[in-house]
Symmetry: C2
Subunit: 573 residues, 2 copies
Amino acid sequence: MTHQIKRYLPILNWGKRYDHTALTNDTIAAVIVTIMLIPQSLAYALLAGLPPEAGLYASIVPIILYSVFGTSSALAVGPVAVVSLMTAATLNNIVEQGTMGYAIAALSLAALSGVILLGMGLFRLGFVANFLSHPVIAGFITASGIIIAASQLKHVFGIEAEGHNLLQLAGSLIGELENLNPITTLIGASAIGFLFWVRKGLGQQLRKIGLGAGLSSTLVKAGPVGAVVLSTLAVWLLGLTEQGVQIVGHVPQSLPPLTMPDLSPTLLHQLLLPAFLISLIGFVESVSVAQTLAAKKRERIDPDQELIGLGAANIGAAFTGGFPVTGGFARSVVNFDAGAQTPAAGAFTAIGLAVAALLLTPLIYFLPKATLAATIIVAVLSLVDFSILKRAWAYSKADFIAVLSTMVLTLGFGVEVGVMAGVILSILMHLYKTSRPHIAEVGLIAGTEHFRNINRHTVQTHPDIVTLRVDESLYFANARYLEDQIQDRVADDEQVRHVILQCSAVNDIDLSALESLEMINLRLGEMGVTLHLSEVKGPVMDKLQAQHFVHELSGEIHLTQFAAIQHITANAN
Amino acid sequence: MTHQIKRYLPILNWGKRYDHTALTNDTIAAVIVTIMLIPQSLAYALLAGLPPEAGLYASIVPIILYSVFGTSSALAVGPVAVVSLMTAATLNNIVEQGTMGYAIAALSLAALSGVILLGMGLFRLGFVANFLSHPVIAGFITASGIIIAASQLKHVFGIEAEGHNLLQLAGSLIGELENLNPITTLIGASAIGFLFWVRKGLGQQLRKIGLGAGLSSTLVKAGPVGAVVLSTLAVWLLGLTEQGVQIVGHVPQSLPPLTMPDLSPTLLHQLLLPAFLISLIGFVESVSVAQTLAAKKRERIDPDQELIGLGAANIGAAFTGGFPVTGGFARSVVNFDAGAQTPAAGAFTAIGLAVAALLLTPLIYFLPKATLAATIIVAVLSLVDFSILKRAWAYSKADFIAVLSTMVLTLGFGVEVGVMAGVILSILMHLYKTSRPHIAEVGLIAGTEHFRNINRHTVQTHPDIVTLRVDESLYFANARYLEDQIQDRVADDEQVRHVILQCSAVNDIDLSALESLEMINLRLGEMGVTLHLSEVKGPVMDKLQAQHFVHELSGEIHLTQFAAIQHITANAN
């Protein structure tokens, strides 16, 4: 019982070992992460189409809940770029942006996503996320990054634009470009330039003037805070709102409010598929970050418990004015680098953000939206990586098709279509590949007991014995292919008296394949040809043992391929 | 060029070898098959909800076209039970039975199905049918047989009933049972009894009185003809139509008419999915019959060319008053047993049926529908086989779930839902199985170079070396599982310094898995653990060779597992 409770409440494990050192480390990490999270949270709320304070709220209670239920010591949970984009894409289809209904639907989406994650965790269904292949994720993230950057250009130019795929966005932006606001564009472009410079050049310069690597890196991470402070001051001091520069404006000074998501069946039904996709993408992103950071400290994370942690975090977001959240890469790495030792660091970050939400919001009244858009653009462009295309092309055409299709479909039709098409396509291509397995005809390499492909090696064969090695588990999708291949090989060659299937690469035989083997045995029998098996693996043999097939087999099951040939030739002489 | 033409026109191959013996054999077979096909064709038209002559028409031109394009010498193409049921289920959803539109929609369904089959053949997509696993087909055929039998009971009882699944049919039949026509029921029940007796007892009795096995078997096959003749005479002579016995009635004396299917986009759109399913099921049934018969004569059939043959047959059916057709099991076996030597036998059968359609239709005016229903019931009940459930349960739970679900869903929701659910379920279960592959930790069996599972055998291991053997190809669905498993094994065991992945059962590594291996390598590196591979297969090694991974690998790739252990322990000392 205690064990069960501890599994679902990891806090009980690390909590009792908590000491002064851990407290110090966690507090320092929390201060650094808090500073970095303020502009990021505001920006992702903007991306999700929500008021800026929603970004702060979404970073407070969810972090605390994750620190109770999650297993990673470094993961920082909150709004992230791709999930915020998916949130906007979903909600814009259902309710009008800027309305009360929009913010409430965001709560519903978080609630539904939380329940899905929690359910998957309790039923240990984390493996479902495995069907998002790496190329599909890479293609999806790159395409999403482009869409996100394009969607933020309107704030940089100070114009209106709409769209959930690249075509819509590009058309909308080009049509509105004549209304471009020069001052806004100047602020946005400067912020983008500044942030790129901070990323690429600042660290090196700081180290040149003698700062330590750690401090330099922290200052670089604080770049967005610098851009926020500088541009806010500029707008305030120069009175740029009168030039039409859009600002964040009034943000309530408040702790996260208690909110109630709309749980009407109609809305939940509309949100179900998007919530599922958001949950999957969020979970995959979060787990891969958590795994990477855990390995650095030889720790373990439990993916199914992570689902529970993220589920709790999202349900927390739903009831405290937030929107869907997950473990973010950038913030988690900062947290880790800053020395976070336990999930308590997350809780301390939450306290920092709560203080900010309560006290600092008046200070961002004059923060231009163009600056927030700039921080998003610079952040997401680092996700854009076309090298996966080149890599996939060089490694495997099937993977290339998956990544290219995911990218093109995401760019052309939006995130939902893109990710679903990617998943379905990778499954279909995997099935296609395994449905036509590599089947080698093999012969004996003289002087050894090894059998190799007759097309690749000089081998000894017997005219009346054909040995085929199937390099794949036998299952329904390739069972009939095997029937065809054997029929083709044997029907034309009157000399053949024995067929041996070398099963060294056969990890499983399902019922369809068993019935195909029975059929092959029967048909070969009709032609006067004997069927043998060799090198059948233990677990496969265990399954076959109880079947009629073993008794009906016209030949025998031999321990090794060499023994099979010896036995057959000995009997023939 | 000639080769290309011959591939698509197999008739050019066997046509030039055609001689007197072949002619005699084919003619005899054709006479026997013709007699058997007359009642069967009428009955399946009834099952499809069409006038009886449609069954004859569907057996004439399609057979001739198949004999030109098909590759099987024994396959007899025409209406079959399951496809006729699927036709009825499809059309009843769209148009009212008995109307002109119903018959025309049947033509459209045949045309669409023909185009789909032809297209799949030209693009060599026959492998798609492999995704219908044996258990799914077995479950589907059994459930369809039950539905077909239930759907024919209304004719046996002389009542009205509707429904496309067992629940609807049972409810409808029970509600109408009070209107049962006693004379019709007597005819139907007698016919069923007679046909069962012919099947089970007649052959033995005939052989007892000295008839040859061949002749006995032929007479048994002619049983339905006997039932047709006897019951028609009874109705005619006793004037039973006045007792309310439903008869076939007027059937036009005509060769197959030239007909035009309705090709309006709305209708084709509605028919697309059903046509696809009908094509798949029909193709699978046909190819497995053709393969079985071909093997008996050491012949080959080409599945992709079979698609073309069946496609042509269905298009032929669409333009000559038929409905969807495929290669039937019963008629093909009769054709084969009767000695058909080439596809010409099929063409001769077509001539026989054309003569019947032209001259004999007045003779079946008084044929009671109850008799036709009885021939269907007896024929399909031989398809019903629940033993597959027992077999699947004993062999593999995944297959059991697939077959049970297909049966239950087909019975409960009809043929389309049943077969689609079966296909999707078997794919998902296959993916689930391969997503959690068997991973064995192995050690050396003393005195050998063999490595086996440490849980099954007494083996030698080293405390600082962990060897894992993954019994599955590495691909996206199990890549992350492998990451987890290795992390779990190593994170808890401080002694581990080397991890070896024995890849003897790994037939492929896709890009996702390659990236997971890179990640594993990186993470193990962070823990101070070296990653090695052993026994990587040739084709996999070819793919890996060009990748950074080979250079970045902290350990080495060893030819054999034994060499890996020797190398690592030698370096350690």
